[in-house]
Symmetry: C2
Amino acid sequence: MQLIDQADGFDLALDGRIVARHRAAAPMIFVGQGEPSVQMNKGHFKIDDYVVARVPLAHARIVRRDGEVRLAFSAGPSDASSLTLVVTGGENDAAIRFEGADASINRLWLRIAAEQEERVWGGGEQLSYFDMRGRRFPMWTSEPGNGRDKSTLMTFKADRTGSGGDYYNTNYPQPTWLSSRRYALHVETTAYSAFDFRHGDFHEIEVWAVPERIELWARDHFIDLVRALSDRFGRQPPLPDWVLQGAIVGLKDGERSFERLEAFRAAGAAISGIWCEDWVGLRITTFGRRLYWDWKWDPKRYPGLDRKIPELAGEGVRFLGYVNPYLCVDGELYPHAAAEGYLALRPDADEPYIVDFGEFDCGIVDFTNPKAAAWFEDVVIGRNMLDFGLSGWMADFGEYLPHDVRLASGLDGMLAHNAWPTLWGQVNARAVASRGKTGEALFFMRAGFTGVQAHCPLLWAGDQSVDFTRHDGLPSVICAALSSGLVGNAFHHSDIGGYTSLYGNVRTAELMQRWSEMAAFTPVMRSHEGNRPDQNLQLDQDPDVLAHFARMTRIYRHLAPYLAELSQEAATTGVPVQRPLFLHFEGDPRAFECQVSYLYGPDLLVAPVLEAGAERWSAYLPAGAEWRHLWSGETFAGGAEVSVAAPIGQPPVFYRADAARADLFAALATL
Amino acid sequence: MQLIDQADGFDLALDGRIVARHRAAAPMIFVGQGEPSVQMNKGHFKIDDYVVARVPLAHARIVRRDGEVRLAFSAGPSDASSLTLVVTGGENDAAIRFEGADASINRLWLRIAAEQEERVWGGGEQLSYFDMRGRRFPMWTSEPGNGRDKSTLMTFKADRTGSGGDYYNTNYPQPTWLSSRRYALHVETTAYSAFDFRHGDFHEIEVWAVPERIELWARDHFIDLVRALSDRFGRQPPLPDWVLQGAIVGLKDGERSFERLEAFRAAGAAISGIWCEDWVGLRITTFGRRLYWDWKWDPKRYPGLDRKIPELAGEGVRFLGYVNPYLCVDGELYPHAAAEGYLALRPDADEPYIVDFGEFDCGIVDFTNPKAAAWFEDVVIGRNMLDFGLSGWMADFGEYLPHDVRLASGLDGMLAHNAWPTLWGQVNARAVASRGKTGEALFFMRAGFTGVQAHCPLLWAGDQSVDFTRHDGLPSVICAALSSGLVGNAFHHSDIGGYTSLYGNVRTAELMQRWSEMAAFTPVMRSHEGNRPDQNLQLDQDPDVLAHFARMTRIYRHLAPYLAELSQEAATTGVPVQRPLFLHFEGDPRAFECQVSYLYGPDLLVAPVLEAGAERWSAYLPAGAEWRHLWSGETFAGGAEVSVAAPIGQPPVFYRADAARADLFAALATL
């Protein structure tokens, strides 16, 4: 990083890009104090801040020494320094450390230079806006909320119960962005933070603490930025071979799940696994059937499962389960964990912090306690799950750590909250590693934060609404895949058909079909019965839907050689399977505008149908390639929006006419 | 005011009350810069602020001289002073002037000492919360919004069109409060400001400018505080005698209005006036019938009105009309006003600022131009209205001045916006005075701000929803009367039956009756046909409703001697006709909790039925008096919640058993 002196200030530049401007009249940094108000309601947070002070640090004393630049900032020229920024790094990579902060500072605002037409992406897994410019994005892991669009009746109804959400709510935020100016920036902190991209000539980073560090990367090409971030945050192993062989069918019907699986096979579906989240048994509440949060096989609901699992494996079908970081107080694990001091504590008493999940109470396993983590890894996941024969599971939750919890490590709850998903991922990954199953057992998470990349082999997009809505339905999955992919999560997938059915909003056959069509062109194809299985259409209830699904699973399986290659590439370089158009077409300005289509590897362009009733669909094909429509074989020059027929069964997909695997792609039309 | 030295700071005390605390670590004042964003949509404003800096002024240099105390505040001990507060005044009244402010300051935050149990009232005319403690109240005149309660479907629907509103939106804000600690505080500014009453040990005043002054009053009794505020803001003349003789019936049916008036009289209603807002004629839009905003008699809609007015006057019925500060571009007044330079200008061109009111455009008369104001007073109101024979009118609007308007006086739009209602009131009052009709011609306004008290003889509560809803229906009128009354508006009334009918929400007979019952116990009784007359019940459409209304008008008329006395008292002392219970019962803590009942003068307690379907109603009767129920004659000791039968026709009203006019009140039961 270069420091360039300017009249009454300086600029910081990284490989020719001005990344910060400081002038006495327009400082780059502000510090102060805030008094937060945080309320949690079943993973939904209401967070307000009363900003007591926000003081511009107008003056900087500059000291250059030993390959670093020290910027000692103060409010006035004669004041003592409030904070020193230590800039280190070479031409392309740099870091800013914070030292000597005044003890009273608990808020920090940093301005990064921006340009009018600049775009910014990342922010973890964003569900609404891929390009974040023009909006503010708090970084706080939480439920994403239902509806997520204040103009819809769904969101209004959900808001009345406190579960409505807004565009920025996500299970997986991460204070990292990539800029169209071809640099990336990461804020190393687990404190509450926010990116404010609403300003014309700067982006403002807000942090409710003095962060550890700001990290910066500049590269000539976006794909190299993505690789750099993957290097930084960690890489996932390649997808296991078994998962490429077909879909994972989600069923939670007890023993009957296996009968129903037969119907899928009979319909010609390629099946790689069966996922039964109810393997732990059920709890009946007035809200409906819930799982029994005591993590081990329930032989009442699945008699003989211990024998069934190897039997299925012999047929090429893996068995997957479910776990989360809570223990219900009426289970067998809770009393042990409580007695051993493995649980997080209340702020006001040396008693386990109990969280109400709706007619049942749970304790929180304190993963900052190494013994608690080791126990959960070895006994709960290791013995009860992996040794029992599970090949994978949904590692649910991670977002619900109360901000006022007391932890064994002494870490403050406000700092631990965002750290939790990564700790949770780490516990799962260590358990898998302890059995030598890394890259073989496949767990999937919705929650995340910085560093989860190193632990979680597969994201899923959380609990979409069972519809085509812009902010909470099928379209949000693409945004999620693209944003999380840029910050180092190579593998993404979603619940086919969506999950959340509320207020009479139920799945249509068309939705199931369109979702299946998209899922065939994602790293993992997995179905879910949803939160209200009885009220919602299931894949195996409608012969047309089932036949369509089965065909899509064969398309997915047919692409296995291509996907295996992408999976290996991801594991080697960190480039995600699903990619925004500009990752390969950075010379085409229109490639930067799109969040409704994606590249599936370098050679396929997928433009899922995102509306009900569509018979045709339009997609922008980027300039610089010739594109062939999968179903008609029609060839289009890139650089234009094209419209193609898109009946059910013919998802709008295009491939590069000169792709090495053009023949493989062409053969899809025959399946 | 006393300045009391404290370790590392000082306190300011007024007659023994600490009103401000300053310590270096907890300063009383913060200054900084904000960058506002203001969007107007038909009188609804979306206002955001990006606070660039908020600097605590931790250090104060104190100079006592010439009966004033000068407090020169700075951020650091060695910094130049950013702002000097000059404290003047005696033991009970004080003022704080601001001098020598740093030119960069456009935001100021001032903390006033608070106590945990303290209550605060005022804030102009508040429609939702009489006691403002625990919430934040921006002070910006605007449409109050429809629904005004984010949990209701009505508000959700209205929000989708930008007209939803929230609890603090009001036509008439005023940065003035009264505290239960028996002091009052006023911020002299027309800038955007906000009172933040959410904190435990301070109230925070935010002003988007350096205000002129903070004014303070301490008194031993609340009624003396109210008098002091009335002395400060101006007094209204007594109500005209004619209005005490009965109700003003609102009809807007052209000539047919007079036939319909006969039905009211035939039903035995006491009528003092007929109010025809359509006296200016109609404009047909796709939204429905609107008025023709060219302020003069429309002989097509009201043929022979010039002869009808004196004829009605001979029968004791006054004629009232309608005016507002806009001129439609297709009228006769607009071209004249435009040619003479009487209109407010666009920010970007020397052309009239045109506001779209929904399929018709209007110019804004620039009341900061003395010639424009004089023309509007003499020609529009004087000649076209008063000389024509009008005895009163709705002086509508006042809240819509765009923040980016250019005015003849050079006053910035952000400062002019809140000043506008008072200027509009002044124009009306001067016009009335020019014809010697002060206290005789009665106009009524919904918009207000500091100083409107000196000009506007009568407030009306704006455009309530046609229902019993807490924040936008009948109950909101009581809150409006009580809050505005405390800051010097003695006379208040509302549209009987409410005004706003949206999304199929229409008037019920019961609502009309309950509203009539309350209106009989307010200074003026006036009906309105509402925004959608054809879809809503009218008083003269249902014989029971009409008979009930007629009886209520006789009750109103019967109380004329009492009301005349209250009206005279208000004109002399500033004490409003409608009063919160604590104004006369300050020894009773429960009297401070109530915003659903009110004292009507010192001797009547009115507890309107505020719910549909009620057959009985409960009211708290304050301790220190014996209360007699109007209809049963039953006597209750004060200091208890009592329940009484409350069928339609028997509004829950109580009078002090020892009232001088007890016989007059008792006779109401015989009407």
